[in-house]
Amino acid sequence: MALQSLDIKQRSATTTSAPSVRQTLEVAKLIDVSTCIGCKACQAACMEWNDIRDEVGSNSGVYDNPADLTAKSWTVMRFAEVELSDVSGGRLEWLIRKDGCMHCADPGCLKACPAPGAIVQYANGIVDFHEENCIGCGYCITGCPFNIPRISKEDNKAYKCSLCSDRVAVGQAPACAKACPTGAIQFGSKSDMKDYAEKRIGDLKERGYAKAGLYDPAGVGGTHVMYVLHHADRPELYNGLPTNPGISPLVSLWKGFAKPLASLAIGAVALGSLFHYVMKGPNEVSKESEREAEKEESQ
């Protein structure tokens, strides 16, 4: 049974405790932006392996295609042309970042999800969506600090990168990591990935990138997709990678107080309304609270 190949650590809207006897290797994907050529092999491999084909779009004046993540594009390359007078003497840098699910240790999507078993976190760190349980409410999007999940217009369910949990379950690397021609995507245990990152950062520092570093943000408990950045002090240069991502305080509230209450309610419509009340209200407030949080940080 496939379930047994990956132990579950957390399951959305479920109070049953997870098995925790077996020891599982914590895995991670490391994206070394400094060796990424933006070839999109990862995008192609992702579509091919996961049997998803996005629509043929159009060119909007940039290399980014598809233009954004969709229910059928679980990873996209984001291109940024940057000239930094203080770092590289104004010489052009083309910063190219593979965007997709970060597989947070503390996953906001899972916390926010009201549908039992629609989002699970395996003991190896992968956060996976199980669409057969998804109700399409979109709260995972609200809960995600990286703006990753997308709802399909075809079936009204949320989709995102699974870190190829089916491949990892049988001891294979994710399709994108295997394909990556330059080895900018590496896959292995989280601790090996951190060691590897350290070597790469050393090399970058020797080449003049004094602020090279690892992106493994603490605000979400660390991630199972990490970046090596040449300018780790300024992640926003990489097409808006958040500097200090965290879960919206109201998702935490939902998780801590409201969700157990909701779980007691059995009537489907009543439950739906409650979700709607709890989530839709906070949704609007959340931006303000974020702003407040930002203010606090900057002080």
Binding site: T35, N59, G61
Partner: protein, 808 residues
Amino acid sequence: MTNHWVDIKNTDLAIIMGGNAAEAHPCGFKWVIEAKKDRKAKLIVVDPRFTRSASVADFYAPIRAGADIAFLGGVIHYLLSNDKIHHDYVKAYTNAPFLISEGFGFEDGIFTGYNAEKRSYGKDTWQYQKDKDGFAMVDETLQSPNCVFQLMKKHYSRYTPELVSRVTGTPKEDFLKICGMIAETAAPNKTMTILYALGWTEHTVGSQNIRTMAIIQCLLGNMGMAGGGINALRGHANVQGITDMCLYSEVLPGYQSAPTDADKTRADYLAARTPKALRPGQMNFPQNFPKWNTSLMKAFYGNAATKDNDFCYDWLPKKDGAYDTLALFERMHQGKMSGFVCQGFNPLASVANKKKVGDALAKLKYLVIIDPLATDTSEFWKNYGEYNEVDPAKIQTEVFRLPANLFAEEDGSFTNSGRVVQWHWKAADGPGESKGDIEIMAALYLKLKEMYAKDGGKFPDAILNLAWPYRIPAKPSPSELLMEISGKALGDVLDPKDPTKVLVKAGEQIPGFAMLRDDGSTSCGNWIYGGCWSQAGNLTARRDASDPTGLGQTLAWGFAWPANRRILYNRASADLAGKPWDPKRPVLRWTGTAWGGNDIPDMRPDAAPDQNVMPFIMNPEGVARLFAPAMADGPFPEHYEPFETPLDNNPFHPKNPKATSNPAARVFKGDMETFGKAKDFPYVCTTYRLVEHFHFWTKHAHINAVLQPEHFVEIGEALAKEKGIASGDKVKVRSNRGFIKAVAVVTKRIRTLDVDGKKVHTIGIPLHFGFKGLTKPGYITNTLTPFVGDANSQTPEYKAFLVNIEKA
């Protein structure tokens, strides 16, 4: 590639110029990244655009399209004037000390011997001075004003950093920084690799672009070395193999130059192609030409080829002129052709000047398309609105379209850019009634043979007697064919030193081309592949990836031609005494009795160093040519402007209009008028590939259509501002041959350059789009390109021409 893909990891400095390896060859480019990670190697990219290769480079410099020789000539000048060359190497392994004819000269951009009417050179003065025995004369001190070294120094003394910067648009300090980085590899234990592709070949000075870098690599002592070499990153998965099989009219398989009208008899033919050594004791390997040729004729005509009938020499067609792709379409355009077959080729999209190509196809009586895909060419007669405005009723060409298989649907061997021949296995049948190329060609041939046997006709002999020893005549197997290519003994092959000793028994596969004979006792379809299918079986199918030395040679993986050698000229990786220049990356060494090491020696195995057999065994002089009389357009590369130049003249020769563009490039009648002038078409345009697509194939693959869905044109911010164009706007780009419309991508990655006192803007256009496919329908980029080619190879000048641009 003189070296191979994995060997790139051994380099200290990779330079990408005239190519864009990260986009066109990402999986090979990984070895640059490995060199950077593991050896702390540096990467330099010089390109008109800041490409994806540049995005991971240590240093990028812009250059005007078509100014590469100016740049590289400047590097030569820098190396010579700063004394940054590998002296021992240059003196021993190149023709630097060779004396050139007293009459040789170069004036005002033209070498001696020029015939302006024919646009070609007579080469009488481009020759070595010879002694009474016919050997080339040398001056070991390199001081004689007529030695190659001094002539070269003089030739490139004009390429000062100031002039280089003025012509190329590359900022002077950027140019000098790159010179400094390159110069470091003159140290005997440092290497540089050059990765180039069509960005160098697709110019009217294409071959000389490469020659200039070859000179640099020789001066630095980087040829034959691990992590060095001249590395052409070629196009298709088997473009190297098809080049080796020589599917072009001027050569027979294995680069044997084909007969022309001048080669009246077989004796004339062989004599002209079998050189004598130009220095004492040299291997002069081409002296074996008669063996290769006789064995080929035995493979073609079997028992019908005998000594008495000159091995069917007269059955080979003699060539009376040029039949390269451009010449072929020129003939077609003139109405001189009736029939034409496109086998896996889409010329309407991939040949210069789409209109001329389309008009030419419309003059044919019959056109046959053999392809897995519905190509644009196959529907050149169909109206696709603005993308292909034709009237089918007026086109009388009968068009046949035959479905062919793809890679996964057949067994066979591909030869990669590093000359490694690898076998692949069939995974599934092709769709519908599709067939493999072998079966399709066999069907056409057998039908013709049947008709000639039954009805007779013009010269049926060669058709009726073509050797066809295949077990299923309608379906020769790839294995049978590769065995024929590799070669076998027809009679016992005897040891020339001891005729009682049989080296290869009759009927056996030969172990290598050294066993080939010129008496008809061996058969070999392509001598350079000799031994790839030996008595030990199909060596191209070997899958032992072990790499005991860590150099990445993997000698038991597949089979590299020639003789399973992975690095060409590897004798040059060791000094005169046979000691590796770099003991940390030894390729070959003299063991005291033989050459040994981490590769198959490119040298007679028992040639002791004191015998002075030099490493460049394919040259009769045994050394590399800094001065190369074989070139059509000059023994030293010289900068000439593209045929469409934004400048009024060649800044190296401002007073001689004859030397503005390559004086030896062929221009067809009527095409000179199709070249545009800078006053009407002020912008330099260059065409290229994107990483998301492969030529005109992947527009038919959904995944790739998603990744890059629509035709676009890249322009810099300054030009965009001048023209009021924003990213995402539709623009119209015109050349003197037509126009295309596409989406504008405005980018910082294309800079405006200061060239000869002018601001020069560059426009970049990817080539992948067309009216057939899953991508958005688009114009064919080659509507814009000029119909003129390189003086040596006739490769069209796709990389530098003039256009104008406006908002559509």
